[in-house]
Every structure is written in structure tokens, then in C-alpha cells.
């Protein structure tokens, strides 16, 4: 902990937490005895570096905040490398900028398998998927149990609650798994756990 007159240190341990295209910048707090430290965040995209004199753009939602985390999702809206930096303010005193080590590109976001629930309603195979936002599509694979070689695929863009996949043969088991796909970064998540259900009736 620093006394009042010492130079205000720049924030340290600056890092990104990015999951499912939601990106957060975090850093360690700067602690000054008896003072409230506030932080401000700025970003710089590849465009700013190459075409706009390496200018930096402030994120007003993260200007003079006391939290040590900033949601940068709205501003990281292109698949290019971004620089990010944070500085501290206490009263009239201001630190140097602390800059994220290396660039951040949203292509590295961690994509989780989708939450999925399969329903058999008579002879109809239905799937319920969580809405993960407009950037997400879903690739759904389904097949008759034991016939993995004859998998069928359905790409789903718009999520509504119970989506009709296909009709099923009487008394037959069907299995389903799904992954998310983000067109903007051209990447997919791992597949969800496989789930199987049985169609009504007796096998012919």
C-alpha cells in the first residue's frame, strides 16, 4: 500500500476474459491508503493503428470507475487485433497507462457447447436450445442410434423455444448433439453431450 505522495502506479495484471463472444478486461486494484482509486479504459483497433495515427478510443462506460473489470464486448466488434489499456486516478493524481500484453482478437474467445434438451413428442423429434445472442448459429446432428454413419445435420440461426428437427420411425431411438457456430469468427464450439430419446409405438 502506497502513501499519498508516491507516484501513482499503473494498473497491473491486465488480462482479458472472453467467453462466447462476451469480452471483459480485468486488472489488479491499485491500493492507496484512505483513497478511492478510479480507473479508465481505452481501446485501439487495427484500423486505428494503421489508418488513424495509432489513436486510442475511450470507453465511456469505463471512465473513472472504481470496479477493476470493464465489459468491452460492444467495442471489440471486429475480427482484428485490439490493444487495450487502463490507468488509475486518485483526485488530481494520474498513473501511466497499463497496457494489455499482446493483442486481443475475438477469434480466441472460448466457445462453450450449447445447453440442449431433446424431446420426443409422439413421432416427432424436437430440440430446445438456449438463446446465446445474434452472433450464434447452431449446428445440430441427429441420427438413429447405432447408425452414426447416417448422421443428418440442421443449421439453425433463429432460436425459438421448441424446434422441430424431424419425424421418427415408431419405437426407434434417436440421438442428437449440437455445437454453436459463430460466423463472424468462423469457429465452432465443441459438441454438447449426446442425448437420445425413443419414438412412440413399437418397432416395425
Amino acid at each position: 500500500i502506497l502513501d499519498e505522495d508516491a507516484l501513482l502506479p499503473a494498473p497491473q495484471n491486465i488480462s482479458i476474459i472472453s467467453t462466447n463472444m462476451k469480452h471483459f478486461l480485468t486488472w489488479s486494484p491499485v491500493t492507496i491508503q484512505g483513497e478511492t482509486v478510479r480507473y479508465s479504459v481505452e481501446f485501439q483497433g487495427e484500423y486505428e493503428r494503421e489508418y488513424a495515427n495509432e489513436s486510442w478510443i475511450p470507453i465511456c462506460e469505463c471512465s473513472l470507475i472504481t470496479a477493476t473489470v470493464c465489459n468491452i464486448t460492444e467495442d471489440i466488434s471486429a475480427t482484428v487485433p485490439y490493444n487495450l489499456r487502463v490507468r488509475a486516478d486518485v483526485g488530481a493524481r494520474r498513473s501511466e497507462w497499463g497496457t494489455l500484453k499482446g493483442f486481443f482478437n475475438r477469434i480466441t474467445t472460448y466457445l462453450t457447447p450449447p445447453l440442449m434438451k431433446i424431446v420426443a413428442d409422439g413421432y416427432h423429434l424436437l430440440v430446445e436450445l438456449e438463446d446465446m445472442g445474434p452472433a450464434f448459429q447452431f449446428c445440430i446432428l441427429y441420427w438413429k442410434k447405432g447408425q452414426e454413419s447416417r448422421m443428418q445435420q440442421k443449421m439453425v440461426k433463429e432460436i425459438s423455444s421448441t424446434l422441430h428437427l424431424d419425424t421418427m420411425e415408431a419405437g426407434t431411438d434417436y440421438c442428437v448433439k449440437a455445437q454453436t457456430y459463430v460466423e463472424a469468427i468462423n469457429r465452432s464450439s465443441n459438441f454438447s453431450q449426446m442425448q437420445c430419446v425413443r419414438a412412440q409405438g413399437d418397432r416395425s
Binding site: 413428442d121 409422439g122 413421432y123 416427432h124 424436437l126 439453425v156 440461426k157 433463429e158 425459438s160 423455444s161 421448441t162 424446434l163 422441430h164 419425424t167 421418427m168
Partner: protein, 214 residues
């Protein structure tokens, strides 16, 4: 000579567009009461002249159908309104730039359903683009928006379960249903680029035929 124009201006001048039927609307100037008359002009963005809409000269209503003049959806437009009362006038009040392609609202699709013992067939028809006259060529909005799709909801009235279908073409057959059961269908149009959604159509209900063998 140049009129004296201290009259308050028409307010909220804007286009209201449904299926590219583009109608200019505005509100009367504040505090003017009855007797106000209006003139309307429009221009194609990027082209140098304003054009008077003669059918909307000296009108007392507060709307003017400019569908004919704004039917080319590869262009963008401005329109403007001026008010007149007791020999005085207001300023010309303009719309923002109007892009019919991205700013029109799309009506829900027409839905027709038929049934057999174990299936229902659904035919979806996108609304037609506004056209000058009934005899004119009918252009479906599916031609205007190549990425047009349908979200279809099918509700089993017995089990109260609702299923959703995402359909690119205009027919959907749902087989393997329960005989003698009522199903209600509703559909919505969805365009991905530019992003446009219609409302949902009203529900069309039909029952599968009774099982003759039962």
C-alpha cells in the same frame, strides 16, 4: 411575391411504409386549429430537384401517398411538407433520408392449411410489394429479399405443445400427427440481411381427419 412564413411548422414529418406502400405522414403545426392546408414535395436523394406532388397540393389531411414516386427501392428519398393558413405559411419541414428497402415493415405471410388423417400441409405466401394498379405485375417480397425465410409455429391443441419450424421455401408438411386432433398454425417472415421481421400471422386451426379404422 414571397409569402410571409411565420406559421409554426408541421411536426413529425416521416414515412410510414408497409410492404413498400410508402405514405408520408405529419402532425399539424402546434396551436393552428382547423383550416390549415398543406403542400408536399419530394426528391430522390442525390438528384438535384424537388418535385411537387400535385395530388397533395392544398390538402387539409395530414398524409400523402408517395408510393408511386418512391417505388424504386434502389433509390433513397426525402419528402417535405409546408403549411398554409390565412395567407401565411410555415417553413418546409423534411423527413430524414428514407430507404424503402430497409425501412419498410413487412406484413405477416398468408397461411393456408389442409389436412389428411395424419398430416397437415401448410402453404406460406409472402406479401406482394405495393404496386401501382391491380393490373400491374405482382412482385413478391420474397423476390425483393432473397434471404427471406419463415418461422412457423404449430400448436397441438390437445397437448398444448408448440413446435417451431424454420422454413426457407413456401411449403411445409408435418407428417405423423394424431388423427382427429386440432392443430393451430401461425407464421412470421424473417429476413436476415437487412434484418427485418414481420409480425406473426393470426392462427389458422385445422383438425386432422378421424382415424377411419378406429
Amino acid at each position: 411575391g414571397e409569402l410571409y412564413c411565420p406559421l409554426p411548422n408541421p411536426r413529425n414529418v416521416h414515412f410510414e411504409s408497409i410492404n413498400m406502400k410508402n405514405v408520408l405522414h405529419w402532425s399539424a403545426p402546434e396551436g393552428t386549429g382547423d383550416g390549415v392546408l398543406y403542400k408536399v414535395k419530394y426528391s430522390v436523394y442525390g438528384v438535384g430537384k424537388w418535385i411537387k406532388k400535385l395530388e397533395c397540393s392544398n390538402i387539409s389531411r395530414t398524409w400523402c401517398d408517395l408510393s408511386n414516386e418512391t417505388s424504386d427501392y434502389e433509390e433513397q428519398y426525402y419528402a417535405s411538407v409546408k403549411a398554409f393558413l390565412h395567407g401565411m405559411c410555415s417553413d418546409w419541414m423534411e423527413t430524414t433520408r428514407f430507404n424503402p428497402l430497409t425501412e419498410t415493415k413487412i406484413d405477416p405471410p398468408m397461411v393456408s392449411v389442409s389436412s389428411t388423417e395424419k398430416s397437415i400441409s401448410i402453404i406460406l405466401t409472402a406479401p406482394a410489394k405495393w404496386k401501382r394498379s391491380p393490373e400491374g405485375e405482382s412482385i413478391s417480397l420474397a423476390q425483393v429479399y432473397p434471404g427471406l425465410q419463415y418461422n412457423v409455429s404449430v400448436l397441438n391443441k390437445k397437448t398444448k405443445k408448440r413446435w417451431w419450424f424454420s422454413v426457407s421455401n413456401d411449403t411445409l408438411v408435418v407428417p405423423w400427427l394424431e388423427p382427429g386432433t386440432a392443430y393451430c398454425v401461425s407464421a412470421q417472415i424473417h429476413v436476415t440481411t437487412p434484418f427485418l421481421n414481420s409480425g406473426f400471422s393470426k392462427e389458422y386451426c385445422i383438425a386432422t381427419l378421424k382415424d377411419k379404422t378406429a
